[in-house]
Symmetry: C2
Subunit: 308 residues, 2 copies
């Protein structure tokens, strides 16, 4: 049972057909299949593509390609980290490829970065096939725990400044990561002043999932926002982030710190202006996700400009 990623390769092309994006599929030419197999949790496929480099696929869904992964890893990590004045202890749930960890470690204030991944096979595959992502695992500040994220957080209350949930889609092992009890566990595991940032699906495909998720978050956190980034190999080319702050009145769209010149020079996607722009949603999405907004009325962006 379950999807076998290798079965989605026909005539030398992998086609990402999935129930979450009916009628559309990203297709990538396959140069070589480096690995195909099943862990206790999911199906893994690693192949190479002439444009996108090495591609990691879990349960038939593209997770990272070495060409465009920075557009995702930098944004899911730096949006909450630069919205925090001085993050010291950081927890990453999921993210077994190590890419988010690599970005977390670029913050000099971070003393400890714990990665809790349920599937050791993802960490092992990344260390073998995706060394540019797995680089983060070698840092002495890192602790890797193979466990369930919600269970880990239950034992670590009031312990983290930033929690980043880098999950796959809400079908399969990551389903629970999109439900209110998981968000409640994050709220308890964060310290005062803490922020959480979670993979939040695509506004072109999943507004029906995003709207109730944001409503649930607003009952758990006083400050909730939605931002997005554009990643060519993700379905519809975009992916969003649900960002929650434990304090009220936090301006999530305005970074609290700027990267040093040395760190900025190592970033390929994020900058302070990119941070602010990531929260500016197209009108159809803004109307759908803003509290009290609807598709035909409510306060418009034009009103906001007219007030200035």
């Amino acid at each position: 049972m379950g999807i076998c990623g290798k079965d989605l390769i026909k005539d030398g092309w992998f086609s990402e057909r999935g129930a979450l994006w009916p009628g559309q599929a990203m297709s990538l030419q396959v140069t070589d299949v480096l690995y195909s197999g099943r862990s206790a949790f999911q199906d893994l496929l690693v192949f190479t593509n002439p444009t996108y480099g090495t591609v990691l696929v879990l349960d038939g869904v593209i997770q990272v390609t070495t060409r465009d992964e920075f557009a995702y890893q930098e944004m899911i990590a730096h949006l909450p980290l630069f919205a925090h004045p001085a993050p010291v202890d950081v927890l990453v749930i999921g993210g077994g490829d190590g890419g988010v960890l690599r970005e977390v470690l670029k913050h000099p204030s971070v003393a400890r970065a714990v990665l809790v991944e349920i599937d050791a096979a993802v960490v092992e595959a990344s260390k073998r096939y995706l060394p540019a992502l797995a680089a983060g695992f070698d840092d002495p500040r890192v602790e890797v725990v193979i466990a369930d994220g919600a269970a880990y957080m239950a034992d670590h209350v009031d312990a983290y400044d930033v929690i980043i949930t880098d999950s796959s889609d809400p079908i399969g092992p990551a389903e629970v990561l999109f439900q209110p009890p998981f968000y409640a566990a994050m709220a308890r595991s964060l310290r005062a002043g803490g922020l959480a940032c979670c993979q939040g699906e695509c506004m072109w495909l999943h507004l029906d999932l995003i709207r109730p998720l944001l409503s649930a978050c607003r009952r758990l956190f006083p400050t909730v926002g939605y931002a997005y980034t554009a990643v060519p190999t993700y379905p519809s080319g975009q992916i969003g982030f649900v960002i929650c702050a434990k304090d009220a009145g936090v301006d999530l769209a305005t970074p609290r710190r700027a990267p040093s010149a040395a760190v900025q020079g190592r970033l390929r996607y994020y900058s302070p202006p990119v941070h602010a722009a990531a929260f500016v949603l197209p009108e159809f999405a803004r109307r759908a996700v803003e509290e009290g907004g609807d598709a035909d009325g409510g306060r418009t962006a034009a009103d906001a400009v007219a007030d200035k």
Copy 2:
């Protein structure tokens, strides 16, 4: 010779394989083929898809789908139009589907909108299969000219406030629209204070085309900018715009006017904040397209923030 769009349909799926995006392809399920045929200029294919509605394909390349077309039409039209204080005469080159025209006509100051399309078959196909886009053709302010855009502009010097070039990719009939003589013709056809906005390909795929194009523009116009929008069915999910102003010192990223509440209510993508955010490029692209910038040095966004 030439691509036949219908030949790209296999087992009920259309796959957009093209020389401009090797190794990757957007695939869309085909419910019904509404039209397939060849004009004097190119191959036309119209089909329906369960998620994206009606899809227009020229020479094997997706041009519009009725689900996501507004993300492109609104941005290519409203970025230059709202950067102009009071556009009266507007020229659209290409754009035979009528979608850009529909957006131009939302500006009450516009007295005359001329569409110059080389291929009458595109206009006819749109009127028949894409009525939501072709709606603009019925407005009394519209004049449709079936002709070569560069030749038309040579006869209309100092005549337009805004020129929008809504072209297909630089292979086939649109190749000349990406070359300096075409940009020079736009500069001559614009009045003082005028702006041009042209389809500018994708920063993930075509920086090698975008960089020299921007350099050429900087020799023809005193103000040149690059913005982008995210469209799920375009290659890599994004498309850029080259925006040029005939005057020096124009702040292209700041709208000169806000839409009225009535107009804003009819827009599904554009808003004044979206306008500004469209010019904020990811670092890899900003370094590549900014004059004097390079991948490893130059002034960074962090420097700009630090200066504040």
